[in-house]
């Protein structure tokens, strides 16, 4: 029942596939990652070895992984989507049992050479499975309640596991990412309206439950939201992050203070300056021009992904590319909103720039999927 099989012979094979990769996208990714290396070099006070070098190695590893994934025919990924999803659920359960604690939450499994965050993996496997699901599902059934409940359950399973860690940011990203794939697949508008309405209800419930026995999210998460709503209330505690982040960004001005000259980050006023708050370092030292350029680069990645998705007549491939693009968008949109004081501080990294192995690797593999879909897209006979 696939969309692919009728013209598989027109798809490039062997090493010639390399020629059919979306090279513009690859160059964009390399550019963004390089900005990340620069920022990590600067944030370490001019030390390459501290963060920039390990990050480069991970990027190289991810890059190779991306190429490998890209070379594999996309139907393989469609066929293994369910398995990947189940595996990532397994990892989430595993992290619950043996996971190491960082920042008050169980989030990663120490693999020795890197710390694996199963929640990052789940973001992509969820997208894969949903794409495969809608590829399999009869178009006419897309908006039927029965067939809407199934993907919702698929989204909520990893979401609940992630919430238990507890990692509110990733949980929200999972819901948003999955929901947007469903939206792209053509599920009726009404469902989204209903979900948004119930989302509002859940948020209300979360706040209503505060301080009671059935409290839905952890105290520190409430505090972060409180702080977001009023950062000046607690300028030396949680509000400190947001306030200092805004000072760093704002003091950059048009052109920034120059490489290694950002006083806010160099003097440690900015918290988590090499991970979630790396944008502030970059924006402080390279100004509005630098930060805006980075935003444009991200948008170009989205643009090329969406174009690729639109060109692709294979339902799985299109949905997969859109899903990865949406996930990517959510990463940088939430991260930027957070450091610019538009959203509460939830632990979401700046994609390809923040220091961290799991997000980098998973994102590169996800772009491998995008490339695979791009290379193996069905082509009309001449």
């Amino acid at each position: 029942m696939s969309f692919l099989e009728y013209n598989v012979k027109t798809v490039p094979t062997g090493l010639s596939k390399v020629l059919y990769l979306n090279w513009v996208l690859i160059i964009l990714l390399i550019t963004i990652a390089s900005i990340g290396f620069l920022a990590l070099y600067s944030v370490a006070g001019g030390d390459i070895g501290r963060w920039a070098e390990p990050q480069m190695k991970r990027f190289a590893l991810g890059f190779v992984g991306m190429l490998v994934v890209a070379m594999v025919p996309v139907y393989f990924w469609r066929n293994t989507a369910a398995l990947a999803y189940v595996l990532s659920l397994g990892l989430l359960v595993l992290v619950e049992l043996i996971g190491a604690t960082g920042g008050g939450a169980q989030r990663w499994i120490d693999l020795g050479f890197m710390r694996l965050q199963p929640s990052e993996v789940a973001k992509i496997t969820l997208v894969m499975l949903l794409a495969a699901y809608y590829d399999w599902l009869d178009l006419k059934k897309t908006s039927r309640l029965m067939w809407v409940i199934i993907p919702v359950v698929l989204i909520l399973l990893p979401t609940f596991l992630v919430l238990r860690q507890p990692d509110l940011g990733t949980a929200l990203l999972l819901v948003a990412g999955g929901g947007l794939v469903m939206f792209a697949a053509g599920v009726h508008w009404g469902y989204f309206a209903a979900v948004i309405a119930s989302g509002v209800a859940v948020v209300t419930a979360a706040f209503q439950s505060r301080g009671t026995g059935w409290q839905l999210i952890a105290d520190y998460q409430y505090d972060r939201i409180d702080t977001f709503l009023n950062p000046s209330q607690d300028p030396l505690g949680d509000g400190y992050h947001i306030t200092q982040s805004k000072i760093a960004l704002g003091s950059g001005g048009w052109t920034g203070k120059g490489l290694l000259q950002g006083t806010q980050s160099q003097l440690n006023f900015v918290p988590e300056k090499h991970t979630d708050f790396i944008l502030t370092t970059f924006a402080e030292e390279f100004g509005f021009i630098g930060a805006f350029s980075l935003l444009v680069l991200y948008c170009l990645v989205l643009f090329f992904c969406i174009t690729s998705a639109l060109q692709n007549k294979d339902r799985f491939s299109s949905l997969l590319i859109l899903g990865v693009a949406v996930t990517f968008f959510l990463y940088f949109a939430v991260n930027m909103s957070m450091v610019m004081g538009l959203a509460p501080v939830v632990g979401v990294p700046l994609p390809l720039v923040s220091y961290g192995g799991s997000a980098m690797l998973v994102l590169m593999l996800a772009f491998g999927l995008v490339q695979s879909a791009h290379v193996h897209r069905p082509r009309m006979r001449a």
Partner: protein, 638 residues
């Protein structure tokens, strides 16, 4: 299995529609992000740049070096010593237990010290250092410095702290410095920012307090770049401050030490004044205390010991203590009467041992009376009845005026704490203060230095100096500030008749040097050093009993005022021994020893004393806890 083309097209159409909606939404969101970025980085850039600078740059004050205080010959009385301390930056210390264990091997630290540090750490401001040990020896600090690499976050530091090398000798004169209290700050309108710097010391008592403005100096400042934890990363700019001015006192440290030692363990005070210049060569109050203990932070126990002592070591009796001057006031009564012309020196009165006035009987200290007495005899033998007669004739206003002329009720401008004004009572004063009319009995009491008359030992010394010179000399405590000689205060000749003055001085000479004088036992026999003086015994209670029969704190105060050498007066001395009993027995010998020490500039030869007393004097000299020239540890009375 192929899908129908129709389905493929339908799928693509739907995805395209939704993808465009999604893409559009993403672009809108990205636009919002860009707008926010622009707002923060362009529109509000100036505001945030300012905040970033505020974050980064800190202005630190550089405390100035406090001015030093020397005695009149340049002997240091208050100086600054380098103190070594070990501080700890909590955020830099890896393992606190390891660090403590290591420190304990290097420097003396008790477990309770460490417990205190442990408690302090969570309370310290971010980036602030916590003092682990203070006032360490150079060796200890060197140990810590050498082991620096093994002790991350532990730093040896050098600071300046006040030290008083003369220990208790100048405790009442110079006072001491201490930390700035909230109460101290609350009293000042616009406090010097220096006062807010940690560990800053200000003068709390005495010269240290009164000349604070001179001694403190001007703070410098430095601009430093700090990191988020408040750690100084580098210095951007430095402006040194101005050191405080040095003070030179008029006091002679050697004499001061002698006087202090001679007074103890009595509760007593003494003043030695240069009769020409008014320079205070010694101004002592016993018992004393070690001011260094206050600088270092006195323990509860030590402080309680000082406050509970009935000899009141913390009180500066030489200027704060007010006593009825007793018979030392008689020169004033005599002068008042003679100058007013209501009596002549040769006129005699009969002393039967008492005088009846208005139905009340006023006693002479000598029950049997002195018989016929003239001015000379009245002073020499300290007859009270003679002065009752004079008081009746002269009246209180004249006596008070003369007292003021000789320094009574005058608040001398010397930089010491709580300088008391004393009292030379008048009719007006009594009406105002007590709402009662002055009665003649009050005049009688006043004439012999009892009743309402009150004077401090300093005022008594000024009186002796003025009697000796006839000049309105006033005391001076600060000789020079930063090398600039301070003016002498002298209101000029007192305008007293030279004959009268000679008569008074001659009588004072005979008080000490005539066989019938009340202080004959305390005479000086060395040529050219003869002393003139007057004894005084001021009553603490009204009932006359023998001093030996009552508790210490109800016995009479013993007073003695003197000047010497008689022919060419140089020094005036006053001595008050609280509850010492009679002035001739308890105060005069002390005054003589002090006078001799001042005249000779060292322990006087025994030949200066009458031959019969030399053995006893020699013993006393040897027993005196003196260690002239070197630092005398623990001079404060235990």
């Amino acid at each position: 299995m192929k899908r129908p083309q129709r389905e493929i097209d339908e799928s693509a159409r739907r995805i395209t529609r939704r993808a465009i909606v999604l893409g559009g939404a993403q672009i809108v969101f990205a636009g919002a992000l860009a707008a926010r970025m622009r707002f923060l980085q362009v529109d509000e850039a100036d505001k945030y740049r300012l905040l970033a600078e505020d974050n980064r740059i800190r202005y630190d004050l550089i405390p100035p070096q406090r001015g030093l205080i020397f005695d009149r010959f340049g002997v240091p009385v208050a100086s600054n010593e380098q103190t070594y301390r070990v501080v700890l930056m909590p955020e830099d210390v890896g393992d606190l237990d390891d660090t403590f264990a290591m420190l304990q091997r290097l420097i003396p630290l008790t477990p309770s010290d460490l417990e205190k540090v442990r408690k302090e750490i969570p309370r310290a401001a971010p980036g602030a250092a916590v003092t682990v040990a203070d006032r360490l020896s150079w060796d200890d600090i060197a140990e810590v410095a050498v082991n620096g690499p093994a002790l991350p976050g532990v730093h040896p530091e050098v600071g300046l702290s006040r030290v008083y090398p003369q220990n208790g000798d100048f405790a009442h004169v110079v006072g001491y410095v201490g930390p700035v209290s909230d109460y101290y700050l609350s009293k000042i309108e616009d406090p010097d920012p220096l006062l807010l710097t940690p560990r800053f010391q200000v003068g709390r008592v005495g010269v240290e307090e009164k000349t604070e403005a001179v001694l403190r100096g001007q703070a410098g400042n430095k601009q430093v770049e700090v990191n988020a934890l408040g750690r100084v990363m580098r210095e951007l700019e430095r402006k040194e401050g101005d050191k405080g001015a040095d003070l030179q006192l008029t006091v002679d440290a050697k004499l001061q030490r002698y006087v202090q030692a001679r007074l103890e363990p009595e509760s007593a005070s003494a003043v030695v004044m240069d009769v020409d210049t008014g320079d205070l060569l010694a101004i002592a109050s016993a018992p004393s205390f070690d001011p260094n203990k206050f600088v270092r932070g006195i323990s509860q126990r030590d402080y309680a010991e000082l406050t509970e002592d009935d000899h009141r070591p913390l009180a500066n009796k030489s200027v704060q203590g007010l006593y009825p001057p007793g018979s030392t006031f008689k020169m004033i009564s005599a002068l008042a009467a003679l100058e007013a012309g209501v009596v002549t020196a040769g006129e005699t009165f009969y002393c039967p041992g008492h005088k009846e006035v208005g139905g009340r009987r006023f006693h002479c200290w000598k029950r049997g009376g002195h018989g016929w007495v003239d001015l000379h005899t009245s002073l020499k033998r300290s007859c009270d009845v003679y002065y009752y007669e004079l008081a009746e004739r002269a009246g209180i206003e004249r006596i008070s005026a003369m007292a003021r002329k000789l320094g009574f009720a005058e608040k001398f401008d010397i930089p010491m704490s709580a300088v008391a004004q004393g009292l030379a009572p008048t009719k007006d004063w009594k009406a105002r203060r007590h709402g009662q009319n002055w009665v003649v009995g009050d005049s009688l009491n006043a004439s012999i230095g009892q009743g309402y008359v009150l004077a401090s030992p300093l005022q008594l010394a000024v009186m002796s100096a003025r009697l000796a010179t006839g000049q309105g000399v006033s005391p001076r405590l600060v000789k020079s500030i930063d090398g600039v000689e301070q003016p002498l205060v002298n209101s000029g000749p007192l305008g007293l008749g030279p004959t009268t003055m000679t008569q008074i001085r001659k009588a004072m000479y005979d008080v000490v040097n005539d066989r019938g004088g009340t202080a004959y036992g305390s005479r000086i026999v060395a040529d050219g050093m003869r002393m003139a003086g007057k004894t005084g015994t001021s009553q603490v209670r009204s009932v006359v009993v023998r001093n030996e029969d009552v508790p210490w704190d109800q016995r009479d105060h013993a007073l003695f005022v003197a000047f010497a050498p008689f022919d060419k007066p140089k020094y005036a001395v006053s001595v008050v021994v609280e509850h010492g009993g009679g002035g001739s027995r308890a105060a005069a010998p002390v005054a003589r020893d002090i006078m001799l020490q001042a005249l000779y500039g060292e322990l006087p030869p025994l030949e200066a004393y009458p031959s019969g007393q030399r053995e006893e004097i020699e013993q006393r000299q040897r027993a005196l806890p003196l260690n002239l020239g070197g630092g005398r540890a623990g001079s404060d009375r235990a």
